[in-house]
Structures are given as structure tokens and as C-alpha cells.
């Protein structure tokens, strides 16, 4: 009876090695379809603060409007308010937004003064899809 136990162990070790090899192989295969982005070439944007060209706080980027081809059409910004009261939701044309990736952070700049963003039409999904495409003439 004493020779059976090592045999089972051997079988067990063999099975474990096989499993490891298989999973390592699977990992290696999944790695084949990836690439590593250079740092400061891209960043997360949802929920990040938005500033105007002078650096004044405008609000937060809360969502994106994307067309059928996956190209962003506008950024949806929550503008102004005091501890959340009086916040307006305004959609700003994609061409007005600049994204600066620096020191592992993304600075979102909207190319118009905060007063003009705040005065834009209130954005409500489906019901009111008007977006701001340029600063209003004074």
C-alpha cells in the first residue's frame, strides 16, 4: 500500500505543472493583443475638473456624446454651483475641448470663458440635445 501514495502525489504534481503551463500559455496569448501606452499620452476624463483658458474652474466633465462611428461630438459638463446647488448641465462641442496630459494628470480646458459656458442651453438627454459650438458674441 505504501507505494501508492507517492504515485498519487506524482500524478498530482504533474497535473499542477500542466495547469500552470496551460494558464501561463493563456496569459501569454492574451498579452499578445495588447500594447502599453506611453505615459502622458492618454488619461481618464470622466469626473475630472474642467477649466477655462484663464485657468478658472468651470465644472466637471460628466459624460460624452458619441456618434455612430464612435467619434465624440460633445462633452457634457456640470457647471458652477455651490456644494452642488445650482449646478447647470451644458454640452460643449468636442472641438472646444482640449486635453493636456501632464505628470499623470489630465487637464481639461474648454476654449471659452466660464460665463459663456454657464450661459449655454441646459442639456437634457433626448429632450434637449442642443450643444454649444462657439462663444457667444458680446
Amino acid at each position: 500500500m505504501s507505494w501508492q501514495a507517492p504515485a498519487i502525489w506524482r500524478a498530482g504534481i504533474l497535473a499542477a505543472m500542466l495547469c500552470t503551463a496551460l494558464s501561463l500559455n493563456a496569459l501569454a496569448q492574451s498579452r499578445q493583443g495588447t500594447r502599453v501606452l506611453p505615459s502622458d499620452s492618454a488619461g481618464l476624463v470622466l469626473g475630472r475638473p474642467v477649466v477655462d483658458p484663464q485657468g478658472a474652474a468651470v465644472g466637471h466633465l460628466v459624460d460624452l456624446l458619441v456618434d455612430g462611428a464612435g467619434v465624440p461630438q460633445a462633452g457634457v459638463i456640470d457647471v458652477g454651483g455651490f456644494i452642488g446647488i445650482g449646478v447647470r448641465r451644458v454640452a460643449v462641442g468636442w472641438s472646444l475641448l482640449r486635453f493636456v496630459h501632464q505628470n499623470q494628470e489630465t487637464r481639461i480646458v474648454v476654449d471659452m470663458p466660464i460665463d459663456d459656458v454657464a450661459a449655454g442651453p441646459e442639456f437634457r438627454h433626448v429632450e434637449s440635445m442642443e450643444i454649444v459650438v462657439r462663444s457667444q458674441p458680446p
Partner: protein, 401 residues
Amino acid sequence: MKPDRGVDWLTLLIATSGSAYGAFIPVYLTSQGWTQTRIGLVLTISTIASVVCLVPAGFLVDSVGPRRRRLLTCALLGVGIAPLTLSLFPHPFPVVAAMVLQAASGAVLTPAIAALSLALVGHDALGDRLGRNARYGSIGAGLGALVMGACATWGPERVVFLIAGLLMVPALLALRAVGPDRLDPEPVHEDETVVVDRFALLRDGRLVVFGLCLALFQIASIAVVQLSSVAVTARLGAQAGMVIAAFVVVPQFVAAWLSPWIGSLARRHGRRPVLLVGFMTVPIRGLLFSLIAQPVALIPVQALEGVGGSVFGVMMPLVAADLTRRTGYYSVCLGLLGLADGIGTAISPTLAGWVADIWGRQAAFWVLTGVGVAAVALLALAMPETYRPIAQRRAQTARTA
């Protein structure tokens, strides 16, 4: 520290900590990269939790009676742990758990503080005590809004919740300073029969009328500032923050100034006149907001919200105490009124937003004003005086004896 001071500090610290919630939660979760759908879900869960907890929490406070101190400690710990969790672990499960914990602890705290006040001073001095509670609650809410606003502007958003949580450490110390209950402050059986039927409260028509009045008050009141401050942002852009801050803070400081006086007025002249004056400020404010377009000119109008809020904050627990003097179940009664308050608060922005979408913002102010008039009318026509001074009660007992 005197027992009175202990309750003052408790109400102040709880109100300061509470000012981190409400409209700021979506701002905070957005800054943590949460999607709008998920934020909406969390807010719905927390609203449901706070509605579901109100009446059972009242029942719990009533059933522990004089041993409510331990319950208060637990509730304070809950109100402290919830914002710390929000601040340190802004992930889905901890956030939902924290919001539910906050809702449950908050539902316990409000009636427990009122019951503590009643036990400390008895029915006849309760108006003055609740006036003080409202004063310190308003100071806390006003200071809290300013501190949280400063944190949110200059620091990372999570500091707001860190502070909100840490404030419960001094609150626990303040609770220790509250002395023992006054022994049997006003033995009811001395001059009146106590109703032992536990459903007597639910059959009291005055409770239904008062609850309806409170709900209408909140429907007419809550959305006014929200509606106008969104318009202020559109009009003033960068300067809007200061004006909206004034909209929020001015009423709190007016209420802090007036509340003790409201409490003593209610003792000297009865509840009805005070309630009527307080309720009348709501439609007047709605009308002024619809007439005045200049945002800065609206800041003094917000003093009216201070008057209304002060009357609401003092009279809701005071009338509840009147209604339950013979039946008991004070905290259950507060829970039911809190339900009416919560429903009104929830309906108000929805109704105003809906009307504003179809007929414009002006029409929304008119509808809110109309609801305010309805609240005053219901109060004037259907709500009887609930206060009977102790001398009057003694006289009546003497007659029946």
C-alpha cells in the same frame, strides 16, 4: 458642561456634519469618476432607505425609553462612520452601505434628540428647548455649508466627508455631558388620563392634517432656491457661487437668530398663530422670487426662508409632543411627520422641474406659490390649536373631579 450645553453642542455638530450630504453627494461621486447612471442608482437606494427607516427608527427610540443614551451613541457612531467610509472607500459597495447607514442613523438621531430634549425639560418648557435646538442646528448647517464649500473649492472633495465624520468625536463627548433625565418631568397621570391604546395616535385627525400641511410647506418651499440658483448660474457664471452660497447661508443665520424667540412665542401665544405666520412666508417668498429678476436682490428675500425654516424646525417636534402627550409614541409621531416632510421634499423639485419644462420657470414659481397658499389655507381651516398650558389643564381636571 451643563446638560443644556450638551444638547446645544450635539445639535450643532450633527447639523454641521449633515450639511455634507444632499446636493453634494453627486458632485463628490462624479469627481471620483462615477457614471451618472450609477450615481442615480445610489441616490435612489439612499432615498428608499431613509423613507423605510423613519417610522421603525421612531418606534425603536420610543421602545428604549430612558435608555436611549446607548442608542444615541450607536447612531452617532453610524453618522460618523458613514462619511469616513465615503471619503476613504469611494467604491460601489462601501458607498451604498455608507448611504444606508447614514439614512438609518439619521432616522434614529432626529427623534432621539427630540425625545432627549423632552425628557430633560418636560412638556411646558419644551418650546424653549426646541427653539435652542433649532438655533444650534441652524448655526451648524450654516457654518457647515461654508466650511464644506471652502473644502470643495480649494481642497479635494473627499476632505468634506473626512471632516463630517471626525465631527462625531466631539459629538460623542457632548452626549456624555448631557445629564440624566429629569425624574418624571411632568407626571401626566396627575391631571389627565393616559390613553393606553397604541393605535390612538393613528386615528388622530390632527396628525393627518398637520402632516399634509408639512408636506405642502416643503413642496412649496424646497424647489424655490434650486430653480432660481440654476438661473443664477446661467446669468452670473463665475460669480454665481457666492450668490448661491448666500442663498443657502442667509436663511440659516436668520433661523439661528429667531428660533429661541419662536419657541417662547409658541409657549406664550399658542402654536396656531406662530404656525400661520411661518407658513405665510412660503407663498410670499415664492411670489417675490417670481417678480424679482436681479439675483443679488433675492438674497434679502431669503431671510423669509429663515423665518419659515425656523418655524418648521421648532413647531414640527413641538406639535408632535402636543399630539402625543396623552398617547405616548412621540418618536413614532415624529417619524410619521418626517415621512410627510420627506415626501414633500422629494415631490418639490420634480413638480417644479416638470412645470418649468412645459411652461417655463416663471410658471413654476407661480405653481409653488399656489401650493404655499394651499398650505396656509389648510392650516388655517383644518388645524386646531394643540397647546393647552399647564394651568388650563389643572383647571379642567379640577372641574371634572
